[in-house]
Every structure is written in structure tokens, then in C-alpha cells.
Symmetry: C2
Subunit: 330 residues, 2 copies
């Protein structure tokens, strides 16, 4: 039997297990061009929550009664598609289910020489988001200051490490002293600011004595507004996510510094999603794999065991419990 997590009702505030229900149905059979996949790792990402909102994002929202959408990795159990064979490692929008019959064209074959957890993190969507967002949108130069919010998260932790490779001063925000210590001690950040400790503006000003040239924004909210005041002339704000708002019952007002400070300081704020850079994926994965092999990037994964725990793990993502990439092992 196939197990699926169904969105029972649309959350209006913090998402939790009460919004999901488990449903079982027979495992399907692949038709021509399709494969049967057994899910092995489920990726939990802040975007999952955004997809539950009524307003469409870059993809259609998940509707109540539908299986929860999600990026995942799996192993091909049976193939009716050319180029795919039993045992192949694949990833794609498999959804929250432990078996899936999918069009092979909606899946990507991955390289078994890498660890599956790495393929779902630093060598997957997460790492590519950090790589393209920082390098192609943020365009940091050596010696510049790069600030990243949610720096202990999956994307943020990679952003900071790539910025260090590029010779930047790197400052991150995270929730709590343990995460902050992890950033500076284990990941090589130059400074970390605990946004829960109060007076974020002052703490960030002290951590960024030369201002901020690139702000990689995973959160929106207060850190974004403060960052705009710290930006240097011609600074770049990479808009990657709005984590602080996804569970808000009532959205906060936007940053008061927009558009005034954008003009005065000639700032560029630019949103992106990783699919925009799909044509450069092979090169980017190769470079990330090189840094990983050379020990220049540490891959941090936070793995929750058991498909049945996916809804709880998603709630915990927004409570800030994880460090690095949050995965569910199915």
C-alpha cells in the first residue's frame, strides 16, 4: 500500500500535524513513459508552507484534500521509461508519499557516487539556491560584507560558506546562542547575531562595521528592514524567501525603507528561484561537489526518521529546531 499525507485543511497560522491526515491507497503501476518510485528522503523546506497559502506562488497552491506537495528523492522500483532502470536514484516533485507513479520526464536521475543526503542538500535544490542566489544575483566581491538571515538553515548555511570561499566577511542571523555559536565555530562565519536576543539593529550594526554589500534574505520581516538601513551604496538584496511571514495570520507591513532607501543608496533588490538557473545546474553541482570534497563546505543535515513524522517535522522547521538541511527519511 502507498501512504500519502493529505492536506486536511489550510492552516491560517502556524502549520502543524493537525492540518494533515494519512491516507493509504494501492501502489500504482507505471504505464509507458512512467516509473514507479519508492521515496527514500523527503525535503522539508519553508516553501512548503508558502504553497499552502491561498495565493499562488511560482506553482499552484496545495488544496485541502490533495496530497501535500514536496520535493523528494527515491529509488526506481519499476520502469516503463527509456533511460530509467530499476535501482536508479531520482529526485523531483514526488510529494508526501512513500510510493509514486510518475512520468519519467518529471524526474531527474542523480549520481550514485554522492551520498543521497548530500544530493538532497548541498548538491541539490538547497545548495543550488544558495549558489545561484549568492553568486548570480548577489554578485559578491572579495572583501565585501555578506549578511544572510536564517543562516543556520539549509540555504543560509551554504550561502555563508560560499561567501567565505569568495573572500567576503560573512555575518549571519539565527535564533538562539547555540545556532550562533555553530555558525562562527563550525561554519567559519565571521559573526552571528541572535535575532531572538533583542536589539537586532544594534547587534547587526556592530557585527557589520563596514556596512552590508550583499544581504541574502531568507526571512523578510525585521531583519530585512534593518539590513536595508545597513546596506552600502550599490548594495544588493537577494530575495530568496520570506520565512518570518509564512505562518503569519496577518501579514506584517512591508519594510518602511522601501522604496526610499533603494533610491538614496541605489540598491538592487531581486527575487529569484532556483529553476531560473536550471541550464547551469551541471556546472554548479560540480563546483559545489568540489568544495564539499575539499572540505571548504560542510554539509549539515538534520534528519528525522520516519514518513509518519513529516507533519511534525515541518512544524518544527518553523519553530527553528533544525540546523542545516531538514530531511525526513522514509
Amino acid at each position: 500500500m502507498n501512504r500519502q499525507w493529505i492536506l486536511k485543511e489550510r492552516p491560517t497560522g502556524m502549520v502543524g500535524p493537525q492540518h494533515f491526515e494519512l491516507r493509504t491507497s494501492p501502489v500504482g503501476t507505471p504505464a509507458a513513459g512512467e516509473v514507479l518510485v519508492r521515496t527514500t528522503l523527503l525535503s522539508l523546506d519553508p516553501a512548503n508552507r508558502a504553497w499552502m497559502a491561498p495565493s499562488p506562488t511560482y506553482k499552484a497552491p496545495v488544496l485541502p484534500g490533495e496530497m501535500m506537495h514536496g520535493f523528494a528523492m527515491g529509488e526506481v522500483l519499476e520502469s516503463k521509461a527509456e533511460g530509467f532502470a530499476k535501482g536508479d536514484l531520482v529526485d523531483g516533485m514526488i510529494g508526501w508519499q512513500d510510493h509514486a507513479v510518475m512520468k519519467a520526464s518529471d524526474l531527474t536521475k542523480r549520481d550514485r557516487r554522492h551520498r543521497p543526503e548530500h544530493l538532497m542538500g548541498v548538491l541539490g535544490v538547497t545548495g543550488l539556491t544558495a549558489y545561484h542566489g549568492l553568486l548570480d544575483v548577489g554578485m559578491p566581491k572579495a572583501g565585501e560584507t555578506v549578511l544572510v538571515s536564517a543562516a543556520a538553515g539549509a540555504v543560509g548555511s551554504i550561502v555563508g560558506q560560499i561567501a567565505k570561499i569568495k573572500g567576503c566577511r560573512v555575518v549571519g542571523t539565527a535564533g538562539g546562542p547555540e545556532k550562533c555559536a555553530w555558525l562562527t565555530r563550525d561554519l567559519g562565519f565571521d559573526a552571528a547575531v541572535d535575532y531572538k536576543a533583542g536589539n537586532v539593529r544594534r547587534a547587526l550594526r556592530e557585527a557589520c562595521p563596514n556596512g552590508v554589500d550583499v544581504y541574502f534574505d531568507n526571512t523578510g520581516g525585521e531583519v530585512l528592514n534593518v539590513a536595508l538601513f545597513l546596506m552600502n551604496l550599490k548594495g544588493r538584496v537577494v530575495c530568496c524567501g520570506n520565512l518570518s511571514q509564512y505562518n503569519a495570520e496577518k501579514p506584517e507591513p512591508g519594510p518602511a525603507a522601501v522604496p526610499g532607501l533603494l533610491v538614496v543608496k541605489r540598491l538592487r533588490m531581486e527575487g529569484f528561484i532556483v529553476m531560473d538557473f536550471a541550464d547551469q545546474q551541471a556546472k554548479a553541482v560540480a563546483e559545489l561537489a568540489g568544495w564539499l570534497a575539499a572540505g571548504k563546505i560542510k554539509a549539515a543535515e538534520d534528519i528525522v526518521e520516519g514518513f509518519e513524522n513529516a507533519p511534525r517535522a515541518l512544524a518544527e522547521l518553523f519553530q527553528g529546531r533544525n540546523r542545516g538541511k531538514l530531511l525526513v527519511r522514509v
Copy 2:
């Protein structure tokens, strides 16, 4: 004697004549490297108001007791500087005074073959702001929709006309039916929306049936927020000014669509000021002069006679009385 308008006190809300006082002092004498200039045209711009705010912009604020800052044109009366001669036409940050002793290096000689009013408008800072902001920051392509706010103003009226030259569908916002009619009837805009008539969101949606690819933002405020919802994927928001907020006693919250919609639609919002493009000025002025001579751009000027009327004219700028470039003839 030299007359100067002095900022008497910093306005907290709408600026008016009560914030200025006239002071007279002897006309100075140029030293080596300096020239004596008689002011002929004073440029009134929304930025004048921003310079009175306590927070610095791209230049130091005007302090109470100081002469009001302002861009102006004048004629050289006496020169002690190489390359400058009596009778030369010059412009620069002369300030609100009818005579000035200035370093020649702070002035630009202008071409007498053009009308002085054009040199202060479409062939000056105003036209260059429209030109570089639209073409170098907004990067419109033929067939795209360009929306511009404060479209009946100095910069907006040129932005719209350049966008038409580039083959775009052009929509402007302005205050009142007369200005809107002027935009579509005289300046060739495809549509105009009266932001004072209510339901701006609906009116803009109807005026932009294919969405907005480039939004040239002179105003911030409501039009910016609505525009963000109308932007197409990969749209560009050119941040030129924040007219709706310069006289606000309490700044409005920022646009709620930032940063969420920037991510979802991969938008770029970018601020600029015309000085950033100083190295391209000659080419840009030549192109603008060509369009003007060919009748592809109409220069609109609103000229107030008399230096003594400068404070009143500035207040009227924010009451939306002018069409096109507001100048004071000294």
C-alpha cells in the same frame, strides 16, 4: 545685492513659504578658479523636499539657517577660471540665490544652441533621469507594458514618451482628469489612471490587461504596492523617487508585497540617481536632443516667474499643480 532663500525651519509635514526667509548680502567676487554666476532658471524638484528631511539622502541635508539647495542655470558674469568666459551658460548646484560665486569645477558649461528651458528639462537632469532610469535600469523591450507614476511630472512625462519611442504600451498615473487627458491626448500615452479617483487597483488592472513589465516608480505609496501585484514574471521596478512620502509627517508602512512577490515573480527593484550615469551624459543628451528635434518627445515646462515665488512654487509642486518640468525664472 544677492538674494538668497534660507531654510528657516525644517518642515515636518507639507513644505510651504513659511519655512523659508529671504536674506540679502553683498554679491561676492570670484577668486582664482572661480566664477560669478547670475542665476536665470531654478529647477524645482521633488528631491528638494527630501533634502530637507533630517536623514541624509545621497547628499547632506539642508540645515535650518542655510541657503536652500537647488539645481539651477545661470550666466557667467565674471570668470577667474580657465575655460569659462563672461556670457557662458552654466548649470550646477547653485542653490536658491540670484548670484553665486562658485568653483568653476562645480559647474557644467551648456550648449547655447539649445533653449535654456530645454537644457533644464528634457536635455538636463530631468531628461537624463528619465532616459537612464528607463533604459539602463528598466530595460524595456518593444511590446512590453511600461507603467509610470507621477506621469504628468517632469520625469514621468519624458519616461512615457521614451517608452513609446521604444515600442512599449505606456500607462501613466496622474492626479485629476485634466492631467490624464493631457497624457493620452498630447503625449501619446496609451492609457492614464487618475489616482485621485479611487479604486486605483482596479483602474490599473484594466489599463494594463497584459500586466506590467517595467514600473517606473516616482511616488512609492499605493501605486507602488498595486504595481507589484500587476508585475509580470521577471518584471523590473525602477525606483526613482518617493513623492507620496516626502511630506508625510509619519511615513507609511512599506509595500506589503515586499519581499514576497519579489521572490514569487522574480522581480528586480532597483534605485538609481542620475549622477551614476554621468559618464554617458553626452551620448544621452545627443539622443534626447534628436528625439526633441524630430518631434518624438514634447518638452513640457511649467515656468513660474520671479525668484521671490520659489517657496510657493515648491509647495505647489507637491499639490500637483504643474505639468512637466517646474522652473522658476529668476
